[in-house]
Chain length 352, copies 2
C-alpha cells in the first residue's frame, strides 16, 4: 500500500470508530497521544526524541471537548478529500477553509494544534494528510535523477540554483544517481561557491543548500537519500551554537516533533564543521561569542542529543576560546580555499 | 559588447584614470555620484526614483579619503578578476577576502558601502561586477525556456516548485515561451495553489512565487520578461500596506537603490490585488489594521510612487474600513475559488 492509501485508510477508520461507538450506544471518544514535555523522551537506540506511551482521551461526553472533537473530524474529512484528489493545502489555507465549517477556529494556532493532534493520533505526518508548510525546502545540485509524477528531473539540469525540494517530497521517487555522498551547507552563499568551484565533481557529491534551519521537507529528503540510496550525509554550518543546532535537528530531530522524528531524523548524518577546532586549526576570522551564544552553548551541553564526546569537546572548546566563525570566513584565504583545502581535509578525517 | 565586457572595460578605465592622473603629476581623484536623500528624486517620466546630478569627490589629496579610495581600487581589482574568470562572490565573502588586503574593512557594512560606491561610480549593478546577494530569487513555473550557459531549462520541467531565479539572472537568455502574461504572487502557498489548480494553463501565464519582498534578481527577471518578451506583469499580494509596497518596489523601485532602478523597476507592472475594494467585494476574512499598519498607509499616501488615483482611493478605503486581508483568505470559499473566480474577474478588469 502506498502512503496515499494508508493515509485515506487511517482517516476513514477514525470516522468509522466514532460511528461504531454511536451504533453500540457508547459515548464516542478518541485517544490522543500526549505531546506534553513529560511524555517526550530521548531514545538512545533510535538516537532521537520519541513520544512516550501516555495519552489523553477526548470524549464527546465531556462538554469542554465537544468542539475540539468536531474540529478534528471536520479536519480529517477535509484531509481525506485533499489526499483523494491529490491536492495539498497550506496550514494557512486550512485555517481559512474552516471559516465555512460549523466549528471554525479562533486563530491559526488553534487549527495548527488540531492538525498536530491528527498527526499524532493517526501516526502520520501532516504532509501525508495533504497539509503543507508555506515554505519550500532546500536547493539540491548534482547527479541525481528523480521522478515527480510524469516528470523526470535531473538536479544538474535545473539551473545554477538547483532543484528545489517541494513540500510534497514524499511523492518523489529516486530514479538514478551518480554520487558517493551528500554535503548540506547552511547558506546559499556556500551553495553557490561549491557549484562554482565544481565541488560536485571533485567530491562526487550532491550539494544541498539548507537556507538556515532545515525545513521538514529537507530533513525528509536527507533521511531518504541516506537510507534509500545509502549515501553518507555531511552537514557544514556556521561555527556557532545556532549552526551546531541546525545540524543536530537534521541528525536527531527536535523535541517538539517527537511524534514524527522517525520520519525526519537522520541519525547517521555527520557534522563536518565549522567546529571550534576548525577555528583554531585554520586560524579563521572570528567574532566574539555574545552572552546569548554562551547561554545557548551551555544549554546544548545539557541536551541529551549532544552527549557524544565529539560535541562535549567542541562545545567546551568554543566556550573556552570565546569565539565563533561563519562558514564563509574561509574566503580569507581566497574563494577556492574552502573547496580546495578545507573540505578535502575534513572529508578525509570523517571518512577514515 | 556584452555586459561582461562592459564591466571589465569600466573597471579597467577606473584604474587607468588614476594612473593617468599620477603620470600627469595630478592628485588622483574619483567622482562619486551622491546617494544622499537630497540627491534622490522621483522621475515622473521614468516612473521611478533616480539619482540627481550632485556628486562628491574622493581625492588622494585628502588624508581622510585615502583609505576609502584604496578600498575602492582593491575592490575594483577583485571584481575585475571575478568577472574575467566568470565567477561571483557574495558580499559576505568579499568582506572576508578583504582580510588579505592592506586596506581591510572594519565590518561588512563598510564593505557594502564601498560596493555601492563602485556601483554608482561605474553606473553598473553590483551583480554585473560579480558581487551577489546571499539569497536566491523567486520561483518560476510555466511555459518558458531559458538558456543558462550550455543548459536549456524549461520552467515547467524543473519540478513542482519551479525554476529558481539565481542571482546571476542577467547571464540567462530567454529562448522560447508560450504564455501571454506573468502573475507574481507574494507567498509560496499561493504559488503552489496556482500550480495545483492549473492556473498556468487557464490563464496562459507564468507563475512567479516572490517569497515576500522581491529579491533584486526577481525584480530584474520581471523587468526583462516585461520588456524583452512584451508580457504584461501582474502582482498579487496580501491586502495590507506591506503587500502594497512589495508590489510598488517591483513597479517603481526603491529610493535606496535610485542608482540602479533603471535596471530593476518595471513601471508597466500592475497591482492585481488584494485591494481594499476586493476585501469589500469578496467579503474576505480580515484582521483589523494595527497601529503600525495605519501609520504605514499614511506614509504611502505621501509617497510620490503612490500618486495615481487608483492607489489614493484604495489606501483611503483601507484606512476607512480599518481592515486588511491575506491573499490566502479566498480559501474561505474553497481552495479553487481564487483561481476559478477571483483571478479571472480581476484579469478581465485589468485587461479591458
Amino acid at each position: 500500500m502506498n502512503r496515499k492509501d494508508i493515509a485515506i485508510n487511517k482517516l476513514k477508520s477514525l470516522g468509522e470508530m466514532i460511528i461504531e461507538d454511536v451504533q453500540k450506544m457508547k459515548v464516542p471518544a478518541i485517544k490522543v497521544p500526549s505531546r506534553g514535555t513529560s511524555n517526550i523522551v530521548y531514545d538512545d537506540v533510535k538516537r532521537h526524541y520519541v513520544l512516550g506511551d501516555r495519552y489523553g482521551k477526548r470524549s464527546l461526553g465531556n462538554v469542554k471537548q465537544i468542539k475540539k472533537i468536531g474540529q478534528m473530524i471536520y479536519m480529517a474529512n477535509f484531509c481525506k478529500e485533499l489526499v483523494r484528489s491529490q491536492k495539498t493545502a497550506t496550514l494557512r489555507e486550512l485555517y481559512y477553509v474552516s471559516e465555512g465549517w460549523d466549528v471554525d477556529f479562533g486563530d491559526q494556532q488553534e487549527s495548527n494544534i488540531v492538525g498536530e493532534d491528527l498527526e499524532v493520533t493517526l501516526g502520520m505526518t501532516r504532509e501525508d494528510l495533504g497539509l503543507m508548510p508555506e515554505e519550500d525546502g532546500a536547493s539540491v545540485y548534482g547527479e541525481l535523477t528523480i521522478q515527480e509524477g510524469d516528470l523526470e528531473i535531473n538536479a544538474m539540469k535545473a539551473g545554477k540554483s538547483g532543484y528545489t525540494i517541494s513540500p510534497t517530497i514524499d511523492e518523489v521517487e529516486f530514479v538514478d544517481h551518480d554520487v558517493k555522498r551528500v554535503i548540506a551547507v547552511e547558506t546559499m552563499g556556500m551553495f553557490h561557491r561549491m557549484v562554482q568551484e565544481n565541488a560536485y565533481k571533485k567530491f562526487d557529491t550532491l550539494i544541498v543548500g539548507l537556507k538556515g534551519q532545515a525545513a521538514r521537507a529537507t530533513r525528509r529528503f536527507l533521511k531518504r537519500v541516506n537510507e534509500e540510496l545509502n549515501l553518507p550525509v555531511y552537514v557544514c554550518n556556521d561555527g556557532d551554537p545556532w549552526g551546531f543546532h541546525i545540524a543536530m535537528v537534521i541528525i536527531s530531530g527536535s523535541a517538539k516533533l517527537a511524534h514524527v522524528n522517525h520520519e525526519l531524523a537522520t541519525p547517521n548524518a555527520k557534522f563536518l564543521g565549522v567546529t571550534a577546532s576548525d577555528i583554531i586549526n585554520y586560524d579563521l576570522p572570528t567574532d566574539p561569542l555574545k552572552d546569548i551564544d554562551v547561554l545557548r552553548l551551555k544549554e546544548l551541553l545539557k541536551d541529551p542529543r549532544y552527549k557524544d564526546e565529539f560535541w562535549k569537546v567542541e562545545i567546551k572548546k568554543m566556550l573556552k576560546i570565546g569565539k565563533k566563525a561563519e562558514q564563509q570566513s574561509f574566503s580569507k584565504y581566497g574563494l577556492e580555499y574552502v573547496v580546495d583545502t578545507y573540505f578535502p581535509e575534513k572529508l578525509e578525517e570523517l571518512e577514515q
